[in-house]
C-alpha cells in the first residue's frame, strides 16, 4: 500500500504529445479512475506508472520514492491487462505463483498465498486449469489474483472489464470495487466507460488530448464540469453556445435569452442536464421558461427523452421520468420548457466537444 504521485508527467512520441504534464496524487488506499475517450493519453499514463513507457518529462513517486527510472520488474506494481495476459502454458495456480517465485517467496509460503488469492477472487478449485479452459470472467479473476498475490504497492487496471459481456461487467465492477476497498490497496484504473468510472472510483480524472481536464468526485464532475468536454463526456448535457452578456445573463447564438448564475462576460457555453429541465405546467415560476416544438420523443422505459426546438438555432433534450398515467408528448406539440437559473452551468470556451 502506498501513495502514488505523478509530477508533471509528459510523453512525446516524435512530434505527437501523448500525455501533457499530468500531475496527480493518489492517496493511500484510494481508487482513482482515469477516464477519457480513446487516444486521450490515459493508457500511456498508466503504462508510465507501470514502467513500460519512459516519460519524456516528469516523475513518478511511490510513497515519496522516485521510481521514474526503475524498470517495471523493480516497481512492485500489480497490473491487470485488458486482454488479461495470462500465461497460456501455465495453470491457474502457476500463473498466480509466478510473481511469488520472482520475489523468491519460500515454497512453503507460496501454496497458502495462492490459495488465499484465489479464494479472494472466488476461484477455489480451479488451480489446475489452463487459461484456455476458463471463461472470460474467470480469466479476469485469475489476472486479478495474480496481480494481488504479490501485495503490490499499487494496483493498475487497464480497461479490465472491456472484454466481459454487459451483464457480467455489472457484477464484476462491484466485486472489484469491494475487494479493493477491503484490501485498502491504492488503485489506478483506466476506462473509457463513464458508467464504470462513476461506479468504481473514489475520484475521477477526466482526460482529453493528453491533458487532464478535471479531477474530482463524481458529483464535482457532474454538477460543476470544468469545461464543455467534461460536461458532454460525464453524463449528458445540452450544450448551447453563445455569449455571456452580463453576469447572470446569457444569449445563445440561436438568440435565446437565458437567466443563469454568474459567468464572465464573453463567449461561452451553457450546459443543461436533460433531467434538470421540466416540461409543461410545472414550468410555472421557474427562472427560465421557453416555448418550443417537440421534434422527437424517445421512450426509454425508466425515462422519456423529449427533443424540443426552443429557437431556430437551439434544440434541447428534456429527460422526463416515466409516469404511467400522464399522456406522452407527441411530435409537433407546442410545449413549455423550464429550468431554474442554478441548473445552467456557464462554461468558457467555444463549446467544441471533442468527438470520442
Amino acid at each position: 500500500m502506498a501513495q502514488l504521485a505523478l509530477e508533471g508527467l509528459s510523453k512525446h512520441f516524435g512530434v505527437t504529445v501523448a500525455v501533457r504534464e499530468v500531475s496527480l496524487v493518489v492517496r493511500d488506499g484510494e481508487f482513482v479512475v482515469l477516464l477519457g475517450p480513446s487516444g486521450c493519453g490515459k493508457t500511456t499514463t498508466l503504462r508510465m506508472i507501470a514502467g513500460f513507457v519512459a516519460p519524456t518529462a516528469g516523475r513518478v513517486r511511490l510513497d515519496g520514492r522516485d521510481v521514474t527510472a526503475l524498470p517495471p520488474w523493480k516497481r512492485n506494481a500489480g497490473m491487470v491487462f485488458q486482454s488479461y495476459a495470462l500465461f497460456p502454458h501455465l495453470t491457474v495456480a502457476e500463473n498466480v505463483a509466478f510473481g511469488l517465485q520472482m520475489r523468491k517467496v519460500p515454497p512453503t509460503e507460496v501454496a497458502p498465498r495462492i490459495a488465499e488469492a484465489l479464494r479472494l477472487v472466488r476461484l477455489d478449485g480451479l488451480h489446475e486449469r489452463l487459461p484456455r479452459q476458463l471463461s472470460g470472467g474467470q480469466q479476469q479473476r485469475v489476472a486479478l489474483a495474480r496481480a494481488l498475490v504479490v501485495r503490490p504497492d499499487v494496483l493498475l487496471l487497464d480497461e479490465p472489464l472491456s472484454n466481459l459481456d454487459a451483464k457480467l461487467r455489472e457484477t464484476v465492477r462491484v466485486e472489484i470495487r469491494e475487494l479493493q476497498h477491503e484490501l485498502g490497496i491504492t488503485t489506478v484504473m483506466v476506462t473509457h466507460d463513464q458508467e464504470e468510472a462513476l461506479i468504481m472510483a473514489d475520484r475521477l480524472v477526466v482526460m482529453a488530448e493528453g491533458a487532464v481536464r478535471q479531477v474530482g468526485s463524481q458529483r464535482d464532475l457532474y454538477e460543476r464540469p470544468a469545461d464543455s468536454f467534461v460536461a458532454g463526456f460525464v453524463g449528458r448535457s445540452n450544450l448551447l453556445p453563445g455569449v455571456v452578456e452580463a453576469p447572470g445573463r446569457f444569449r445563445t447564438s440561436g438568440g435565446l435569452a437565458i437567466a443563469c448564475v454568474d459567468g464572465q462576460p464573453g463567449p461561452g457555453v451553457i450546459a443543461l442536464r436533460p433531467e434538470r429541465l421540466v416540461l409543461g405546467t410545472p414550468t410555472a415560476g421557474l427562472d427560465n421558461r421557453v416555448r418550443g416544438t417537440v421534434e422527437l420523443v424517445s421512450y426509454l422505459g425508466a425515462s422519456i427523452d423529449v427533443h424540443v426546438r426552443v429557437s431556430p438555432g437551439d434544440r434541447v433534450v428534456v429527460s422526463q421520468p416515466n409516469r404511467a398515467d400522464g399522456p406522452l408528448p407527441r411530435q409537433g406539440d407546442t410545449v413549455d420548457v423550464g429550468w431554474p437559473a442554478a441548473a445552467a452551468v456557464v462554461l468558457s470556451g467555444d463549446g467544441a466537444v471533442i468527438p470520442d
Binding site: 507501470a50 520488474w73 500489480g78 491487462f81 486482454s83 495476459a85 495470462l86 520472482m102 489476472a143
Partner: protein
C-alpha cells in the same frame, strides 16, 4: 428441391471434393508402399506375389545404410543450426522496427524461392572460389554440405516461429515484467514456452526439408559421400527393382513417426 436435400447435396459435393483431393495426395504413397512388397524384380501389374525381401536387401546394401545415416546427421545438424539462427531472427523481425526489417525478412525466406539447382550451382561456385581464396578444403567438405542445408532450413524456422510470435499477446511479457521478471527470465519462462509449438513445428519441417533434399545436395557432396536421396537417384539409374520403394517406405515411416511424435507435444493442426 427442398432446402434440406440441397444441403445434403452440398455436403455430398464437399465430401467428394475432399476425397478427390486426398486421393490425389495419397495415391503415389499408396502405390509406393504397395510396390515395396511386390515379389518380382521388375515392377509390373498384377503383382506375382508378395515378399519382404526388398526390405532385407536394404540392410545388406551398405550404401543405403550409409546414405541414411549421413542424411540423418545432416538433417539433425541443419535443424539445430536452423533453429539457432531462425528463432532469434524471427524474434528480431517481430519485435523491432528498423529500416532493413522487410528486406531482411525477405532475404531470410529467399532460399525457399530460389530453385534448388540454382542454389546448388551457386554454392558450388562459391565453395570453389572460397577454397582457392583461403586454401582450406571447403569444396566437397561435410561442413560445406551442412551449411548448405542450414540455408534451406532457415526460411522454415523463420516463417513458422514468426507465425507463432504474431499470434502471441505481447502483454503476457509485460505481465511477467510487472510481476518482477527481468527480460531474460521473461524470455525463458514466458516467451519461449509460449512459442514452443512454432519452434517444434519448424524443427520438424526443417528436418524433413533437409532430409529429403536432392537438388542442392548433388552439387555439394564430396567423393564417397552421398545422402539418401542421392543414393536413391544413383540406384535408379541402373535398376528399378522395388528396393527403392522399400527405402521410400522407410523414409515415409521415419517422417511419419517424427510427425506423430511432434503432434504429441504440439498439435500440428494449430501451427501449420
Amino acid at each position: 428441391m427442398t432446402w434440406v436435400s440441397r444441403r445434403a447435396l452440398g455436403r455430398w459435393a464437399l465430401n467428394a471434393a475432399a476425397g478427390l483431393a486426398f486421393g490425389f495426395i495419397l495415391l503415389p504413397l499408396v502405390f509406393v508402399v504397395w510396390l515395396a512388397f511386390f515379389r518380382q524384380a521388375i515392377p509390373s501389374f498384377p503383382p506375382q506375389g508378395y515378399s519382404f525381401k526388398w526390405f532385407l536387401a536394404i540392410a545388406d546394401s551398405p550404401r543405403f545404410v550409409e546414405g541414411f545415416w549421413l542424411s540423418l546427421q545432416i538433417a539433425v545438424t541443419a535443424m539445430v543450426f536452423g533453429l539457432a539462427i531462425g528463432v532469434p531472427a524471427a524474434l528480431c523481425l517481430a519485435r523491432y522496427r528498423f529500416r532493413a526489417r522487410e528486406p531482411l525478412g525477405n532475404l531470410l525466406l529467399l532460399p525457399l524461392m530460389v530453385p534448388g539447382i540454382v542454389l546448388g550451382t551457386s554454392l558450388y561456385v562459391f565453395h570453389v572460389e572460397a577454397s582457392i581464396a583461403t586454401g582450406l578444403p571447403i569444396l566437397g567438405s561435410i561442413a560445406a554440405l551442412m551449411a548448405g542445408h542450414v540455408l534451406i532450413v532457415i526460411p522454415w524456422t523463420v516463417r513458422l516461429v514468426s507465425a507463432s510470435l504474431a499470434g502471441l499477446d505481447r502483454s503476457i511479457e509485460e505481465a511477467a515484467q510487472s510481476l518482477g521478471a527481468p527480460p531474460l527470465t521473461t524470455f525463458l519462462r514466458i516467451t519461449l514456452p509460449a512459442i514452443r509449438p512454432g519452434i517444434v513445428a519448424s524443427a520438424l519441417f526443417g528436418f524433413v526439408v533437409s532430409f529429403g533434399n536432392l537438388e542442392m545436395s548433388m552439387f555439394l557432396v564430396g567423393p564417397g559421400r552421398t545422402t539418401l536421396p542421392i543414393t536413391i537417384l544413383q540406384y535408379l539409374e541402373y535398376r528399378i527393382d522395388p528396393t527403392i520403394a522399400a527405402v521410400s517406405v522407410l523414409q515415409i515411416l521415419l517422417i511419419g513417426a517424427a510427425m506423430v511424435i511432434t503432434d504429441h507435444f504440439v498439435k500440428l493442426s494449430r501451427v501449420v
